[in-house]
């Protein structure tokens, strides 16, 4: 029931390359072989009445409304389940069909509430539409017979209701859950008149396995499954096409609006990242934008122990300018810097880094990618030549072997996970490399062929062992390597991995993974057809994060799994615009387009356009900024959309660094934990309040469009412009499109990008330039960007963070479906009903040893600090490993994590912390 959605053709398109010609109501049309009669008719502009059919689901043929007559065939077949055949002559509107359809509708309506005027779906109800379409004028059966009109309403889910009295049991919700989401939480229980939709074992939606992705709500043709916002507000009046601001999948959404009030967010069927699907966050958890905690006025104070005072934009911006200039005069040009946000737009991150380089006069700019995927940027640049994933999301549908390393897609990237699950249900094989038994390991109709449940911190040993098998068992794709890769580098690498110390048998004692399992996984990846690797922060957030990324790249090159659909190396980026923030020059050593600041030609290019000399030395990275603050040489920091005090490791060190600065500016939606140490607070604008672009994990640039005016008066790009103006560097952008034009002028991979082209194409995957005017779905198809693919020796080096008798367990961290990162947004929505607190997963054996029962409060202590959590006893984690999420500030998990970091990028080692866990004696978070 989404009349404002795209036109519904009834059944999915056929992908056949051959066509057949048919005649429908006298119109001749040619369509791909395998197209349904219903879809062929729709493509000819003829709408056959339907209820159980929708083009996002396979044909089902249950409602009996879409009947047609076909010359030479007996009966009245359902047009949704009948494929076209050459020469077929079809009639969609005959007296017989009219009578049949009217009769069917009579039966439906005889058991349906006649409350159209007060129904939430009034004006957006397919049942209502079909009653009109078939000319229903009476219900001969009356309304007094047996019916379901008093069936109970399930309002347990915070975002939608299930009103069984309005259900026509068309199964669209069940099929959406099965086919689109892949959770299989819904079913039709009972037979005949007793048939009803049931969630799990006839539980409430909230208590069931339902993941609230909203696919069922979108699929429902009546008011049975309805967004509560629609019930409360009414039908939307306009649609704004925009992009989700949660994870790196970057789902395209239709923001459906009445006035400036969002009524609902509906996933866009033509969205190339999400193909019409959504998750509980993007679909429903957008209420934070209007949450009363939003700060809508700039705030200032002299010292961080003072209360905030409201200020005008002019005063706050003036304070920033005067303080930053004072600090630079007093402590030197390099004493200030900024951090861009992966939640802000490309245009905004570009402006912040421009402010640092052109206005502050240094390169002290970094971004939150520092603490997540910076090793991806470094590792893939070194091996392939480009700091980005190689594929589009569609590619997974051509994968034969899917390898998931250190990622939990069903929680972290749920919409992509649904596509991956669809491919796995079609028969692709799955290898999971993860210390924890993530849901994908065994989920309905899916079971991993191999789960390499390694010890945290031993990724590189595993990747070398996999490579050892491939090299020593003759599984290298020699033709690919010979043609596409640097041979001397390959030879050195092959000799290295072939050493006996890298064999699965030798590394078994390090990784804890049986050698036979490693060998089976390596053989499957190398010989099972298209092999595609998807990885997450379980790869990058280690002291050898970069080494592991290189190891993954080595493996893909050695097996020839690069450069075509179905294969590739695919980092699952965490935040909506983490790819974009990196692309836009947010790192302290490189300009937009990943060009080093020491490169004179690039510097001259920007100097010409920006009109100022630019620094040639790399700036400080985020952890280095805190170190320098404690040294007394770094005093001013502008932080856009980032909450270090909660998200970064070794909280004590972060807080000490922030406290040592003289002017900290936080530009955010909420007074977050970091704002406790700020002197100026600038109110930010949510993604609903501004124009711009985000770039997702598949390098896809998508438009963000303004749905409502900035609630605090200025969009973030406007606020940064105001700061630059106050610092004596006027910027003249009237619209973010002009910033994108500047990006295109200065960044080779964006040369062909413009708002006009984005409007025309919907979205664009960079590089987009003269060689690829409509973008590049798959990278390295004709050759690696760097020329020859580079194999790099990846020696396993154990982390310095090791378990000991004092700290015998290894803590690793992750995310959960309903919450997002530090929870700034999702904690301010009803999503907290699913995850009100972070839990510590501990294996039954470890729990028993410590006298810990399920639900007990426990104290988690490391060498760095200690905190308290509630224990959840589970064998998802192996003995010796504990796991938690970090969505709630009162968890203080980063009090426990250490300052160990990746050798190349300083990406923190969140994934390995040696801890002890004991029953709590009631003490709060503290230094150990």
């Amino acid at each position: 029931m989404n009349a404002m959605l795209d036109r519904d053709f009834g059944t999915p398109p056929s992908t056949s390359e051959t066509t057949v010609a048919v005649e429908i109501d006298g119109l001749r049309i040619e369509v791909p072989t395998g197209t349904s009669v219903m879809r062929a008719a729709a493509e000819a502009g003829i709408s056959i009445p339907k209820l159980c059919a929708t083009d996002t689901l396979e044909a089902f043929g249950s409602c009996r409304l879409c009947l047609v007559e076909i010359d030479g065939r007996a009966g009245t077949p359902a047009s949704c389940t009948t494929p076209v055949a050459e020469g077929m002559r079809i009639h969609t509107q005959t007296s017989k069909l009219k009578s049949l359809r009217r009769g069917v509708m009579e039966l439906y309506i005889s058991d349906h509430p006649l409350d159209c005027l007060t129904c939430s779906a009034n004006g957006d109800c397919e049942l209502q539409d079909m009653a009109g379409a078939v000319g229903l004028r009476e219900v001969r059966y009356g309304f007094d017979g047996a019916n379901h009109l008093s069936a109970p309403k399930d309002e347990s889910n915070p975002y939608f209701t299930f009103d069984a009295s309005k259900c026509i049991v068309c199964s669209r919700c069940v099929r959406a859950c099965d086919e689109v989401q892949g959770t299989l939480a819904l079913t039709v229980a009972g037979r005949g008149f007793e048939s009803k939709i049931a969630a799990s074992a006839d539980e409430s939606f909230l208590d069931s396995e339902c993941v609230s992705c909203g696919a069922c709500v979108k699929a429902c043709p009546t008011a049975t499954l309805t967004e509560k916002t629609v019930i409360e507000i009414g039908q939307p009046e306009r649609t704004v096409l925009t992009t989700c601001a949660y994870c790196g999948v970057g789902c395209s959404f239709k923001a459906q609006v009445r006035g400036t009030e969002v009524v609902r967010m509906v996933p866009h069927d033509d969205g190339k990242a999400n193909r019409g699907h959504s998750c509980v966050k993007g679909r429903f958890a957008w209420g934070y934008a209007t949450h009363p905690d939003r700060v809508l006025t700039p705030l200032v104070r002299e010292r961080i122990d003072q209360p905030w005072r409201e200020a005008s934009w002019d005063e706050a911006v003036g304070r920033i300018a005067s303080e930053f200039r004072r600090i630079q005069q007093q402590y030197g040009k390099d004493s200030v810097g900024a951090v861009t946000s992966s939640r802000c737009t490309n245009e905004e991150t570009f402006l912040v880094q421009k402010m640092v380089r052109a206005v502050f006069g240094n390169n002290n700019v970094d971004t939150c990618a520092r603490v997540c995927h910076s090793p991806t940027g470094y590792g893939l640049k070194q091996t392939f030549g480009t700091s980005a994933g190689t594929q589009d999301f569609d590619s997974v549908m051509q994968a034969d072997v899917i390898v998931v390393i250190g990622a939990n897609p069903t929680d972290g990237h749920p919409v992509f996970a649904s596509r991956m699950k669809r491919r796995l249900r079609q028969g692709a094989k799955l290898i999971v490399i993860d210390p924890r038994r993530i849901d994908l390991v065994r989920t309905p109709h899916i079971e991993a062929s191999q789960h390499l449940q390694l010890r945290p911190g031993t990724n590189v040993a595993i990747i070398n062992a996999l490579a050892h098998v491939i090299v020593t068992e003759g599984l290298v794709n020699e033709a690919f390597v010979r043609e596409r890769c640097d041979l001397p580098e390959f030879s050195t690498w092959a000799q290295f991995v072939a050493e006996a110390r890298n064999s699965p048998e030798a590394t078994e004692s390090i990784t804890g993974v049986p050698a036979a399992t490693v060998r089976a996984a390596a053989r499957l990846y190398a010989t099972g057809g298209n092999g595609a690797i998807y990885y997450g922060l379980g790869v990058t957030e280690h002291s050898q994060g970069t080494t592991m990324v290189m190891g993954i790249a080595n493996l893909a090159m050695a097996t020839g799994n690069i450069g075509r659909p179905g294969v590739g190396v695919n980092p699952l980026r965490g935040q909506n615009n983490v790819q974009g923030s990196c692309d836009m020059g947010s790192f302290p050593h490189e300009f937009a387009g990943y060009r080093h600041v020491s490169d004179e030609a690039t510097r001259e290019l920007f100097e010409d356009i920006w009109g100022v000399p630019l620094a040639s030395e790399p700036g400080l990275r985020i952890p280095n900024m805190f170190d320098a603050a404690l040294d007394g040489s770094f005093k001013g920091l502008f932080i856009q959309g980032e909450d270090f005090a909660q998200s970064d490791p070794d909280t004590q060190h972060v807080v000490a660094g922030l406290s040592a600065m003289e002017c900290v500016v936080v530009h955010d939606l909420f007074l977050n934990e970091t704002a406790k140490y700020a002197h100026v607070f600038l109110p930010g604008a949510s993604f609903l309040e501004k124009d711009g672009t985000f770039t997702n994990a598949e390098r896809r640039i998508s438009r963000v469009r303004k749905v409502m005016p900035p609630r605090a008066g200025l969009a973030d790009w406007q606020a940064v412009m105001a700061v630059c103006q106050a610092l004596g560097y006027p910027m003249q952008y009237a619209h973010p499109s002009q910033i994108m034009d500047e990006i295109a002028r200065t960044t080779p991979s964006f040369t062909g990008v413009s708002y006009a082209k984005l409007d025309e194409l919907g979205s664009i995957q960079w590089p987009c330039n003269d060689k690829a005017p409509t973008g590049t779905p798959v990278m390295h198809s004709a050759g690696f960007v760097r020329g020859k693919g580079r194999f790099i020796v990846t020696e396993y080096v154990p982390t310095e963070e090791r378990s000991t008798s004092r700290f015998p367990l290894l803590l690793t961290t992750g995310r959960i479906l309903s919450q997002y990162n530090v929870g700034t947004q999702t904690r301010r929505t009803a999503n907290s009903q699913w995850h009100a607190q972070d839990l510590l997963e501990i294996h039954p054996h470890d729990a028993e040893q410590r006298g810990i029962r399920d639900g007990d409060r426990v104290r988690v202590a490391s060498r760095t600090g200690a905190t308290e959590l509630q224990a959840e006893i589970t064998d998802r984690v192996a003995p010796g490993v504990v796991y938690t999420t970090f969505h709630h500030p009162d968890t203080h998990i980063n009090v426990v994590t250490t300052d160990f970091s990746d050798w190349a990028t300083n990406c923190p080692e969140y994934k390995v912390t040696a801890v002890q866990v004991l029953p709590s004696n009631g003490t709060a978070a503290a230094r150990s």
């Binding site: 390099d334 390169n363 790399p618 020796v793 310095e800």
Partner: protein, 73 residues
């Protein structure tokens, strides 16, 4: 930044490049430091070495420090 932390970071880099051998590895380490370490970090490492405060510094990192360009800061 305390010198112990810088030494640890430099050692990690040196360990990664160790496979390149005694001749090439110091150059790779130096190149990495030059490209990714902010000048004051390099200056602090240089000072730590000069002042005898770089105890435990990996030999390849120590060799790399010699190859570092002077820091203008």
């Amino acid at each position: 930044m305390n010198s112990q932390k810088l030494v640890r970071m430099a050692n990690q880099i040196a360990t990664f490049f160790a496979h390149e051998g005694a001749e090439k590895a110091p150059l790779s380490v130096a190149d990495h430091l030059q490209k990714f370490w902010e000048p004051r970090m390099r200056a602090q490492l240089l000072a730590a070495v000069a002042n005898g405060e770089a105890e435990g510094l990996h030999p390849l990192a120590r060799a790399a420090v010699v190859a570092l360009e002077p820091v203008e800061h």
